[in-house]
Symmetry: C2
């Protein structure tokens, strides 16, 4: 079978600018504990290793506050470093600009922590300094502490969150793509004209939440807009994706689930005059690779021993907006006598995993964790199935620390590349060009 | 005379993340036009050259909007690149973190473009990634377009601007210095305790403008607070400096003016229980150096030919909040028949430069420009006078582009170092340690 240029998968490293890295990864795991997230040398080494392996991007999830729904306290999140404390991934993306040349730098940023006017300048600056290599994962934030500390009275409801997200995105897009014409910047030394004011115009935005009458303050950057990523899975989230996303993160339980998501999304896209080709579907996966299946399983079991159900409950409580301190973790998931079973997170799991007898503990501790365990060849076989289901890329999480990432790079990447599942060179141009293999 | 460690002067390069660099510097000057401010390689080369010459810091002035008071239009500022367009210096500071080791990275950031909760995370992240080398110039913003685009109805008055500045700074300080104890971060792998929640506390801030009940989201950074710079010269501005600044920018016309400023400030400092030793006074100066005095003068005259009174009026109108398009530039400054003469900027100039017959044009085009012109030895003599007046450092602006900076580094720095006016090694530690020569 000829491997066309489009047929390989995109690979992002999914992580967060926190002590343990991605959601669910314990900072005290032996593979994680030597990595100091605040040490730029460490971050540079990781980014350069990803670039050396032709990863498309590094992706940082993000929160603005602490997860304090569980037991109505921040204590667990502080003690166990549950996606906390948090560096600002925008700053880290900038700090890696000069140390990388091709790697995409994709940061999450919610629409409540900044004013879109200030935010647009920041991301345009990043796009300039990275020569067009940034992506923005638009997040609406469900986190109570974030809303309260940013001056709101409470977390807005779902519809308002996405409404705000849409207006925020619209303001940013107008400032970055409509205020300055391509030809506006002249740099004519003889006439002493830097830019032609006739080709710059005020956006005159006046919406429900923001009023921005003026012009953008940055000149056009290589990509203008960073590549827009969206991760929402609710109905509102899917609509937001269909309207705005260039890359969507999905967390299907299996390839059939991904195919169903893609089918649904294709219909939604057409409502906005868009086609399936304009959206990359990136499946979330965590991987444990070893030279034998037994060894991989042993590593996975070892990881399980490091997982903390307290940490998981702190995170899940925040996500669900419900304090789960009273949950009976060892009851089976199908046990609808338990009130918590009515929460979307468990209902969805109960439906998609009918064949298994999962307990609440299984769901909570392995939240969102579609774990691929095996030899490089087995991992490749598994990814092949997702490619056949139509998925465009893998959002890879390493739950056993950066060691797991380096291990994946060393052992799995060569096999994936040999089988045409992973690129062996970068496409020229911006992150958008690279991701869409133009 | 023994040169004590404290007796050398601090040197900052004063610039801005804009096409021409600092205020008043034409982007089309031959010394500036090859420098692409958005090219990180250029910025890195400049920063590394400054570090090689043992400059204390690079300092970026900043604005959030366009200067559009003049002729009630942004046209002049766009056309002539009058401190416009603007990259975000916070992002640039981050991008230079890995390329420098000792250079201070001091960004201006106003108190209207961000929420202090978000801003505090951003600057703590910078402080971590630079290993404690950041400074923050606290700006209150007088710029109409900035206020309007950030959702305000108009520019707040002076008192409210400084009131907001104080509250903003207070919130940031509480989040960064009071929320986490020094001993809070434990990283105890065996007990699986990352941080001790007993040593982390909510700031419970509830003020006129901001309400931040919760805890800081960053762990303690090397400096906790970036070094606080303030540049205000009004009465409100001086009070703000006396209360908050660790370094103050002054724009005295001569050493006597600086001495008077210092005397005034010493009194004000004592009202806040502070001493003169806790504040560094940094004098703004632009320099033109050449191997002979004649050559330096020729370069200065050449620079004058490049200056644009249109650009200067666009900037000065914005600063003064008055459209100066009707000003008669060639009338003498003492001519109080002209309404514009009543503006503070001209009155102050008329008073301090009684010995000269300056026109409005002179003031407008050379705004804030205390120009030192001469051989390296003459420059050193001049700086000596300011040191004797008690000034702690020089905030150096190059109006003839980065070439002027490189020229200064090549020719003036060795002389200044030989005469004990400029350091020849960095003090160890954070930017605060370095600046105060601890």
């Amino acid at each position: 079978m000829a491997v066309t240029k489009r047929s390989n998968m995109r690979f992002c490293l999914f992580t967060a600018f926190t002590p343990g890295g991605p959601v669910g990864a314990p900072w005290y795991h032996p593979g994680a504990r030597d990595f100091d997230y605040l040490n730029l040398d460490h971050q540079t080494k990781l980014a350069q290793a990803l670039e050396g392996a032709f990863f498309d991007a590094i992706f940082w999830a993000d929160f603005s506050g602490v997860h304090d729904t569980y037991k109505n306290s921040y204590a667990t999140s502080v003690r166990e470093a549950v996606q906390f404390p948090l560096g600002d991934p925008l700053i880290l993306a900038g700090a890696l600009a000069g140390a990388t040349e091709n790697l995409g730098l994709v940061f999450s940023a919610n629409v409540i922590q900044d004013h879109p006017y200030s935010f647009s300048r920041r991301i345009a600056t990043l796009d300039h300094l990275t020569r067009g290599r940034v992506g923005w994962n638009v997040v609406t934030s469900y986190q109570k502490s974030a809303w309260l500390n940013l001056g709101f009275d409470s977390v807005a409801n779902h519809a308002e969150r996405y409404g705000r997200g849409q207006e925020f995105l619209d303001v940013v897009r107008q400032l970055l793509t409509e205020s300055w014409d391509d030809a506006a910047v002249v740099r004519d030394v003889d006439r002493r004209v830097y830019a032609d004011p006739e080709l710059v115009r005020p956006i005159e935005h006046s919406g429900e939440r923001f009023r921005v009458p003026g012009i953008g303050v940055t000149e056009p950057s290589p990509q203008r807009m960073p590549v827009v990523f969206v991760a929402g899975s609710s109905d509102d989230g899917r609509e937001f994706s269909a309207r705005n996303a260039e890359a969507a993160f999905i967390t299907a339980r299996n390839p059939d689930g991904a195919a169903a998501w893609l089918k649904d999304m294709t219909g939604r896209l057409s409502n906005y005059g868009r086609t399936r080709d304009e959206l990359l579907a990136m499946q979330y996966v965590s991987m444990i690779v070893a030279s034998t299946e037994e060894e991989a399983k042993r590593k996975s079991e070892e990881l399980d021993e490091y997982l903390s159900s307290e940490a998981a409950l702190a995170f899940t409580s925040s996500t669900a907006g419900v304090d789960m301190s009273e949950i009976e973790l060892d009851r089976p998931l199908g046990d609808f006598g338990n009130d918590f079973a009515q929460l979307g997170i468990f209902k969805a799991m109960a439906e998609s995993a009918k064949d298994k007898t999962w307990t609440f503990r299984d769901v909570v501790t392995r939240i969102g964790s579609n774990r691929f365990i095996g030899t490089p060849e087995q991992i490749a076989d598994e990814i092949e199935k997702w490619r056949e289901a139509g998925v465009d890329g893998i959002n890879l999480s390493s739950l056993d620390g950066v060691e797991g990432t380096f291990n994946f790079i060393e052992h799995a990447v060569p096999v994936l590349q040999k089988r045409g599942l992973m690129q062996t060179e970068y496409t020229e141009g911006t992150l958008r060009d690279k991701l869409f293999r133009r």
